[in-house]
């Protein structure tokens, strides 16, 4: 790997430091510590990058994550961000000019890796900053994970390439967030619908927020309207994807009247709708491809999503559903195959199908599963079995045991048919 892969990012960072040396870069609410851009640079330069087979895996959500990113940029190592204590996945060293590898849910049950160049990382940051009007006078409150695409694009690169200060909030709990908002009036707060709902329900809502953003899952209209009514704050709906960064953004200052509406294309992003009514995204921030196995859905600056959409003459985008079966649990995506494979590994499970179930607790969807067993087995035993194999949020919240999984009229097992049947049956409980 040459030192040139990250050079454009490293150069932008150095230029930023020269211009903003003494300005606040990061404040950590937990420790009370703050760092200027010059201090961040000095700390980053003091140690070498951590290399694992030519890759760097920055992890966690404190200033150490940012320092690992800067060190990797200096050393020319591609980075693959991880949550704290998440084991590094086995990834082949990419060839060419790849600067960032993002892990994302695979639609076939196997997680995939998205490979982006420095130019694509830069373009995504530039598009988001320009479209949302982010600027250094409005620091970002860092509540969401910086390891995933949304947090990396809205918090990390705006800091390191545009100088938008980052306030690392101690926890997503209502009180620390409200305190951070009070101590940093006029901040920008990117979050997911589940967090906005919890803060609104808590009665301890963050005040004096300059810009509120919601992404990761559909923003319920009632939630947006309630926050606007109760607090005079418009939550701006934002659509993005690991494969291409920011896609569409609701720029309007008033509440939406249509729950399907997600806004218009980010600056620099081109949107179109293909013959299958799926959204296609083009632009300089679209990733080079999946790594190491390519897929024509993501290539040559173009990403075909699984979102079923319509777009009007003004370019306003509406999402009507998904062509894929991915389950969206509070902004995190899991492929039903991943749940099915894990459950089918139990010796007493003969068959199963997993799908998303509408959830009224603010998560958007929860995982549901219909299953067949070879003998009577308590559901909690199966839950415990899965707890050792899946993340907590991937373990089904709703379970239906059946003597067999009926097929639909075409001879195929249908997740959609089971989902419709069971959620209709249980709509009172849901």
């Amino acid at each position: 790997m040459t030192a040139t892969a990250n050079a454009p990012l490293e150069e932008r960072w150095r230029r930023l430091v020269r211009a903003r040396r003494r300005d606040l870069a990061v404040h950590d609410q937990s420790s009370g510590q703050s760092w200027t851009f010059a201090q961040l640079e000095a700390l980053a330069d003091a140690l070498p990058a951590k290399s694992q087979d030519g890759l760097c895996f920055p992890e966690g959500r404190d200033v150490g994550f940012l320092l690992d990113v800067l060190r990797a940029w200096r050393a020319g190592l591609p980075i693959c961000p991880l949550e704290a204590n998440q084991p590094a996945p086995p990834i082949l060293l990419p060839h060419g000019d790849i600067a960032l590898l993002k892990r994302t849910s695979g639609s076939t049950g196997t997680p995939q890796t998205v490979a982006m160049t420095a130019a694509q990382v830069s373009a995504d940051a530039d598009q988001i900053v320009a479209t949302m009007g982010l600027d250094p006078s409005h620091p970002n409150l860092g509540v969401i994970s910086v390891c995933h695409s949304y947090g990396f694009s809205n918090l990390v690169t705006p800091l390191l390439l545009h100088g938008i200060p980052l306030i690392l909030v101690a926890a997503a709990l209502p009180q620390p967030v409200a305190v951070a908002a009070r101590e940093w009036p006029g901040a920008t707060l990117p979050a997911v619908p589940a967090l906005w709902r919890a803060w609104w329900e808590s009665g301890c809502f963050p005040q004096r927020i300059h810009l509120a953003i919601s992404a990761g899952a559909p923003l319920p209209l009632t939630l947006e309207q309630s926050v606007l009514e109760d607090h005079g704050l418009k939550i701006h709906n934002f659509l993005g994807a690991s494969e291409c960064g920011g896609i569409a953004y609701d720029r309007s200052g008033s509440g939406r009247s249509d729950p399907c509406m997600v806004g218009t294309a980010l600056e620099g992003v081109e949107l179109s709708v293909n013959d299958e009514h799926c959204l296609v995204v083009s632009g300089p921030a679209v990733a080079s491809g999946y790594w190491p196995e390519s897929n024509p859905r993501l290539s040559a600056g173009r990403f075909q999503t699984s979102d079923l959409v319509s777009m009007d003459a003004e370019g306003v985008l509406r999402i009507h559903g998904r062509a894929s079966d991915l389950i969206n649990v509070a902004g995190r995506k899991v492929a039903p195959e991943a749940v099915e494979q894990a459950l089918a590994a139990h010796p007493d499970v003969a068959d199963c199908l997993a799908f998303g179930v509408p959830d009224r607790t603010g998560r958007g969807e929860a995982v549901g599963v219909v299953y067949v067993t070879r003998r009577e087995i308590p559901e909690q035993d199966l839950r415990r079995f899965l707890a050792g194999r899946l993340s907590a949020w991937e373990v089904p919240r709703h379970w239906w045991r059946r003597p067999d999984l009926e097929v639909d009229g075409r001879g195929k097992r249908s997740r959609t048919a089971w989902k419709q049947r069971l959620t209709r049956m249980n709509s009172g409980a849901l």
Binding site: A194, S202, E379
Partner: protein, 74 residues
């Protein structure tokens, strides 16, 4: 309250008082569930949880939550 807030398909007996709510050997709840429980404890019982360390302690299991409610009432 846990079952109702998180809409779990469990009976109170299945949930139990000592069963860990989080972690691989527990009920398998996640960070979104934790936040919802914090909000519910405040709204229903006035128990304020303001930092992560306290949240990890109080939300360990139903027995710990019950104790926090009792201490609040005392």
């Amino acid at each position: 309250m846990v079952i109702e807030t998180l809409m779990l398909s469990l009976s109170p007996e299945e949930l139990g008082d000592e069963r860990p709510l989080f972690g691989p050997h527990g009920l398998g709840l996640d960070s979104v569930d934790a936040l919802q429980l914090v909000v519910a404890l405040d709204k229903k019982y006035g128990v304020k949880i303001t930092d992560k360390e306290v949240a990890e302690k109080v939300l360990r299991n139903v027995a710990m939550m019950t104790q926090a409610v009792r201490e609040r009432r005392a």
